[in-house]
Every structure is written in C-alpha cells, then in structure tokens.
Symmetry: C2
Subunit: 108 residues, 2 copies
Amino acid sequence: MDRELLKGSTPLLLLSLLCEGPMYGYQIIETVRQRTGGTYTLKEGALYPALHKLEATEFISSYWETQENGRERRYYAIQPAGEAFLTAKKKEWNQFVDMVQAFVGPRA
Amino acid sequence: MDRELLKGSTPLLLLSLLCEGPMYGYQIIETVRQRTGGTYTLKEGALYPALHKLEATEFISSYWETQENGRERRYYAIQPAGEAFLTAKKKEWNQFVDMVQAFVGPRA
DNA sequence: TTGACGGCCATCGTTTTGCGAGGCACATTG
DNA sequence: CAATGTGCCTCGCAAAACGATGGCCGTCAA
C-alpha cells in the first residue's frame, strides 16, 4: 500500500475506531493490522503523534488504566467535539472519493 | 477539501487525465477546477513538480507546441509505461478506499 | 500607447505527514 | 536466565502540497 495515499486519512481512521469505544495504542495497531488482513500496519511513528495531536485539539481524551498484572495502559476515548469532527471528516472523505472516482472512472 | 487527503492522489489524477489525450499545464488546472465545480483547484506548486517527476520516470513525455499567435505551450502525453503504472495505481486506489471504508463504515 | 488582465511556464521555502529506527520498561514463557 | 511480547514514546528524514512569487507575452479597453 502506497504510504502517500494514507496521508491525511489517519485521523479519520483513528476517530472512527475510537467511536466504537476507548482503545489503547498497541490495541489500535493490532486491530488495524487484523482487520486489514495485514495489508495495512499502522506504524507507531505515525500513530502516537497523531493521537497526541488529536488530544491537543480535544477531539479525544486519554487516561491511564492499570491492568491486573500491575502494568499501565493509556486509553484514548473520543470526545463530543471529536464526534462532530468525525462527521465532517466523513463527509469530506466521501467528497474526496467521488472526486477522484470522477477522474479515474468507476471501479473496474 | 482537506489538502492532506490529496497527497499521493495527484499522480493518479494526472495519469488518468492524460489518458484522455495530451494536455498542457494550465489546461490541466482548468479542467480539474471545472470538473470538480471549483471544489478542487490543483495548484501550480503541486502540478509542475508532479508532472516533471512523472516525466523523469518516463511515465509521460512532453513536447512544445506553437499556437497560431506564436506562443508556446508545453504538452504532456502519457507513455505506455505510464498506462501500466496507472493500472496498478488504480488497483491500489481501490484497495485503499475499501480499507478506509471498512473502518469509517459504508457511505451515509 | 499604456496598462491591466489573462494565458502559460515554473521555482522556492515552509509545513505537514508518515516512516524507520531507536529507546525504555515490565511480564510471561521456555 | 534469556527471549519474546506487550506497551509507551521520540527523533531525524523524506515526500508532497501549499502559498508566494516571478517572468514572459498577447489582447483589449481606456
């Protein structure tokens, strides 16, 4: 998968995922990897900066949770503002796909 | 339209357009602007570097043509290698859309 | 005739984003 | 005990698009 295409779609993916419930970083990576059958492996160098940025703009929030074994995990949860933003992003995404489709032609 | 989404899709657009026949820079910009109803204005700073890069890899070729009024235009035309590349890119594009769709959910 | 406008080419520096590599810490398993 | 897996993160780099800018030349109205 060409990485260039991915640019800009990460926040969309993240917000969509978090819409299903809070998740922690490692879990996000694994979930994406599994759901795409391994074709897309979200990298940590892309994930954490994106997550932190989303948090800085208050689209998501985070909190630490201690597991039974004593280890900590940082969970990220979507905020109301994030849901609103997601809605707008989805619309943008659809427009974008339509636009490209208009030039490339319908799916083969 | 969020510019970040566009990243990586420019070569795909360009190649698709040139598949319809040779075009010159200004014409490409105008065509894109008109076909998208103005929502997407391809910028020169994005177009020319992309065009030159496509030419450097021999996916397209270029030639100058003199108009009746004496002015010159630089036309770009797709090459066989470019068509092959376009086919591959299209497939990648479809995979990409499917993937995002899988997370974002089907179109509203 | 001069000046604004539009056609037409292009580059430059900045910003944004993802990537690869690396680092640190602790738990479980062999 | 060592290796592997879980789990967090940062840093420097490369690629791409952006906005600004520049230049050249016709044309058409003032």
